[in-house]
């Protein structure tokens, strides 16, 4: 990776990867197939294999492939970190510093060390999950509602964890009844509602995008879905950013002392 010193080379590489993905997606269209392609069939995950009573769907397989990609990539890049960073390290440092700045602004703490692992992992995971559908053979795991629900549950449980860790049990529990005790049901309802809101925002955005691309494939497979696919790159990254931002806001609400 040290060989890529010219930014133009990296841009060309990225353009090549995107072009390959687009071309392979175009070739994936069945030529002269007898039956009509079905949108619902295209979107919903199918069972790949079963382990006892468990049905392993394609979502799980894709998620594990993505985790392998992320893990091996992080290991390869993290193995030789240099004080004068190369291009890839520089880019990743920029992303991590942006996440740190977000935590500092929205959570309102100076020391980001305990928040960075979970917030950064969510950002990288969702960003990769939204983009991985562009690669041939892989499908994005986020249009399956179980994946966003799992991540929203992670946020749901990490908010009281960070609140208790930074403020103590009593101080955290007291903020539920802070102005008057009548606020207690409202606070609990809002905690549950925002979990579902996080789930449906991520799920609905990526799902709608996938459905539009599938319908365009059915209507006119050649070159027409390409602008929509390019737009889906933007949407996926924006949704990852918004999920991270909202996670920081929710954690910040639990961490900050009552101002």
């Amino acid at each position: 990776m040290q060989r890529i010193s010219n930014p133009r080379t990296l841009v060309l590489l990225i353009a090549l990867v995107i072009g390959l993905a687009v071309v392979s997606n175009l070739l994936k269209v069945p030529a002269g197939e007898a039956e009509e392609p079905d949108v619902a069939e295209e979107i919903t995950p199918h069972v790949v294999f079963t382990v006892g009573p468990l049905e392993v769907t394609s979502t799980v397989v894709n998620t594990w492939a993505m985790m392998l990609l992320l893990g091996v990539g992080a290991y390869l890049i993290g193995r030789n970190l240099k004080p004068r960073p190369g291009l890839v390290q520089n880019m990743l440092e920029w992303i991590v510093e942006a996440i740190e700045k977000l935590i500092r602004e929205m959570v309102g703490v100076e020391d980001t060390a305990i928040f960075l692992p979970i917030v950064g992992t969510l950002a990288f995971f969702i960003g990769t999950a939204n983009l991985i559908g562009l690669l041939p053979g892989l499908k994005s795991p986020t249009p399956d509602i179980n994946t966003p629900l799992a991540m929203a549950l992670v946020v749901f449980f990490s908010v009281p964890y960070f609140g208790v860790r930074t403020r103590g049990v009593w101080s955290y529990l007291k903020h539920y009844v802070e102005p008057i005790f009548l606020m207690l049901p409202v606070e609990i309802a809002s905690e549950i509602a925002r979990t579902f809101s996080l789930t449906f925002r991520l799920f609905g955005n990526i799902m709608g995008e996938e459905i539009i691309i599938s319908i365009l494939f059915i209507v006119m497979p050649l070159f027409v879905p390409v602008p929509m696919m390019l737009f889906s790159i933007f949407t996926g990254l924006l949704q990852a950013y918004i999920f991270t931002l909202l996670t920081c806001v929710y954690i910040g609400g639990a961490v900050q002392a009552h101002k």
């Binding site: 619902a40 977000l102 929205m106 449906f200 925002r201 799920f203 709608g208 931002l245 806001v249």
Partner: protein, 95 residues
């Protein structure tokens, strides 16, 4: 198709599909007006105080995400109505 005496299951499906069109219109237009107000207020704030642009940007994006989720709820409901209607099995009969 015999349009004069349609069976109930076909009427149910036709009504379901027809109702999604106005549903999409209402569900897109109302959050769009809200997002419009937020975006214009954010632009005015940044024009008045450009040095606070970063912070205003974050808050505007946050509000836009909140409003966006309303449109997404409509999308989810309509997807359920079209592709996985839970009432269909009572009308058409359990398969």
């Amino acid at each position: 198709m015999d349009w004069n005496n349609l069976p109930w299951d076909k009427i149910f499906i036709i009504v379901t599909v027809l109702i999604t069109g106005p549903g999409v219109i209402v569900g897109i237009v109302v959050p769009a007006i809200g997002q419009m107000i937020v975006a214009s207020a954010g632009l005015k704030a940044i024009a008045r105080q450009p040095e606070a642009g970063d912070r205003i940007n974050t808050i505007v994006l946050l509000s836009l995400a909140m409003l966006e989720s309303l449109a997404i709820y409509v999308l989810a409901v309509i997807l359920i109505l079209i592709f996985a209607n839970p009432m269909l099995k009572y009308i058409v009969g359990v398969e």
